[in-house]
């Protein structure tokens, strides 16, 4: 292939990639744009791209209509809380499986993963009733518990795959050097596995932030995170596109920004450790 030819094909591929990437991104872009339009413009039959009266009114309306910051805070507590608690439980388990392997390790791992396949509806009723009886319905604590449990298998699995890349000899060296198990984990394992841990944490925060089964079912007014906040916009049909867009933008912006800033870790984590 000569140089001109390869430049031409690069141009074609670039164009194609940008068009497809743009199409995939378009709904988000359009939502952001609409959130700055007036309601009339938002449903206009000939929508304009940038030539409209930019307004922040929708955001003001949304904030007036519902306690956005409460929902936001609930989302933060639930997703970060459950991911951190999950990490605390998953790290020791992953250490055991990665560094003290035996014949059952693989089965144990598969079993853990299989609990993830348990359909939430299979346990919906008892969880609902248990939560009701323990006073956990519509509480942050209740959701942190549930999120921790449903993401635990993924966390263990991901950490396990990252830990397994660390040579056992390094941990053994630490043991020879007189490190206790705590020192071995904190001074040696965790710092080395930091990128993997970051990916794990990040992915689980995103999964918990976006989880929309338990958060919708187990919350009402107090602990409702942003998923529930936005679901409340499903009833007034049609005419409130601009406000819906503003609310949507506010619901996804935090995680979108977090995700973009940590793209590298995320892409690594996205494969759940299955592909290097």
């Amino acid at each position: 292939m000569n140089k001109q030819n390869s430049q031409a094909s690069k141009l074609i591929y670039t164009l194609l990639a940008w068009i497809i990437g743009g199409l995939i991104f378009f709904p988000i872009f359009w939502t952001l744009l609409t959130s700055f339009k007036t309601e009339a413009e938002a449903i206009s039959a000939s929508p304009s791209l940038f030539m409209f009266d930019w307004t922040l009114q929708n955001y003001i309306d949304v904030l007036a209509r519902s306690p956005y910051f409460d929902h936001f805070w609930n989302s933060v507590v639930i997703s970060f809380g459950s991911s951190l608690v999950g990490l605390l439980i998953a790290v020791p388990a992953a250490w055991s499986m990665a560094f003290v392997q035996n014949k059952r390790t693989k089965n144990l791992l598969m079993w853990m993963l299989s609990t993830k396949m348990l359909p939430p509806v299979g346990v919906l009723v008892p969880i609902y009733l248990l939560f009701r009886d323990f006073g956990l319905l519509d509480t942050q604590l209740g959701l942190v518990i549930v999120m921790t449990l449903i993401n635990l298998p993924i966390m263990v699995w991901m950490l396990y795959t990252y830990f397994k890349e660390i040579p056992n000899e390094i941990l053994e060296a630490a043991r020879m050097d007189g490190a206790s198990i705590g020192e071995e984990i904190f001074h040696v394992l965790l710092p080395i596995a930091l990128p993997g841990i970051a990916s794990t944490l990040l992915l689980n925060i995103i999964l918990a932030w976006n989880e929309a089964f338990w958060t919708l079912i187990l919350t009402a007014a107090n602990a409702a995170p942003l998923t529930a906040f936005i679901a409340s916009y499903s009833s007034p049909e049609g005419l409130f596109y601009a406000k819906l867009s503003a609310a949507s933008a506010m619901a996804i912006a935090p995680i979108l920004i977090l995700g973009w800033f940590s793209q590298k870790q995320l892409v690594r984590g996205l494969s759940f450790g299955a592909v290097k």
Binding site: D177, G178, A179
Partner: protein, 338 residues
């Protein structure tokens, strides 16, 4: 300080016996080398001594104290791994300081010890680098530095040089030998390399299938191997073995002659054959001679050997350099090295 006594130690993984009952007394200050074919249990035994692996039965005594069930850190041993096992996220300084910090040594003392170790190992300029920014040889030196600052009662090395290229290996070999001379600490050293074993060891232990075939000084093993296995394992190129049909009253089943003891002769020798491949190494020449009814014999000749492929030669060897082995492969002392 630093004598290690293994008494009837065994190790099994499930039903596989990796170490058969084994006795070995390692003297204080000794440099002992473990050699043997791959998978014969050298690393396993080393890790058992280190405490990284359980002992299935038997006892391990360190300095006269039963250490069989002690955790690794309490045994006062230091290990240098084949992969170096440096902490990749720490600077060289922090790597070397790690064991001292765990032992809660005073920071001032730590600094002094690091400086001293760095000086011995030529690492002074690299103390603030991460292991990833070092060459293989430098990494190896950091691993050794991390081991020596603890002043262990013995060093354990598991093929420490096998990841280095040939010339570096020679240098490091000398450095480790020198270190042993200056520290006078017990060292147990696992290797695959003939030359390392012969040049560094005070004593060599030859392993085979979970047992020790023979322990002795390098020259003992070279001159008086107790069986075919040891004879074949020590020395390079390998000893030639010649099967003989047992005669009445002579228990010899096979003979062993080292390549360096075989001589090409114009007189009628012991064997006669045609020259096959000729390998010129400059300082010496390896001849592979096909002898009918015997097989291929390797001969180590001097560098200016002019023999060529297809030449017919007579071979001979001094009588006292020919080893005789019985049906079980044991050396028959009365017929060999007399």
């Amino acid at each position: 300080m630093g004598s290690i006594n293994l008494k009837q130690v065994t190790k099994s993984f499930g039903d596989v016996n990796v170490i058969k009952p084994l006795d070995l007394a390692i003297k204080n200050g000794e440099f002992i080398v473990f050699v043997g074919p791959s998978g014969c249990g050298k690393s396993t035994l080393l890790r058992m001594i280190a405490g990284l692996e359980d002992t299935t039965s038997g006892t391990i005594e360190i300095d006269g104290q039963d250490a069989t069930n002690m955790p690794p850190a309490q045994r006062g041993l230091a290990m240098v791994f084949q992969s170096y096992a440096l902490y990749p996220h720490m600077s060289v300084r922090a790597n070397i300081a790690f064991p001292l910090k765990r032992a809660k040594v005073d920071p001032k003392v730590i600094d002094e010890k690091i400086a001293a170790a760095a000086k011995i190992l030529n690492l002074t300029d690299y103390l603030d680098r991460k292991p990833g920014q070092l060459s293989g040889g430098q990494r190896q030196r950091v691993a050794i530095g991390r081991a020596i600052v603890r002043q262990p009662s013995a060093f354990l090395f598991d093929e420490p040089l096998s990841n280095l290229d040939a010339s570096l290996r020679v240098n490091m070999r000398l450095e480790i030998s020198e270190l042993h001379k200056s520290l006078a600490t017990t060292m147990i050293y696992v290797t695959h390399d003939q030359v390392e074993a012969m040049t560094m060891a005070d004593r060599i232990a030859v392993f085979n299938g979970g047992i020790i075939e023979q322990v002795g000084t390098p020259m003992e093993l070279y001159q008086k191997p107790i069986n075919r296995f040891v004879a074949g394992f020590i020395g390079s190129p390998k000893m030639n073995f010649i099967d003989v049909s047992p005669k009445h009253g002579d228990p010899t089943h096979s003979l062993g002659v080292r390549p360096e003891h075989l001589k090409v002769t114009t007189e009628k020798g012991l064997w006669r054959g045609t020259v096959g491949v000729v390998e010129h190494l400059g300082s010496e020449t390896f001849l592979h001679v096909n002898v009918e009814g015997v097989g291929t014999l390797t001969i180590k000749d001097h560098g200016d050997c002019t023999l060529q492929y297809g030449d017919t030669v007579n071979l001979t060897a001094p009588k006292n350099k020919i080893l005789h082995f019985d049906a079980n492969g044991q050396t028959i002392a009365s017929l060999s090295w007399q």
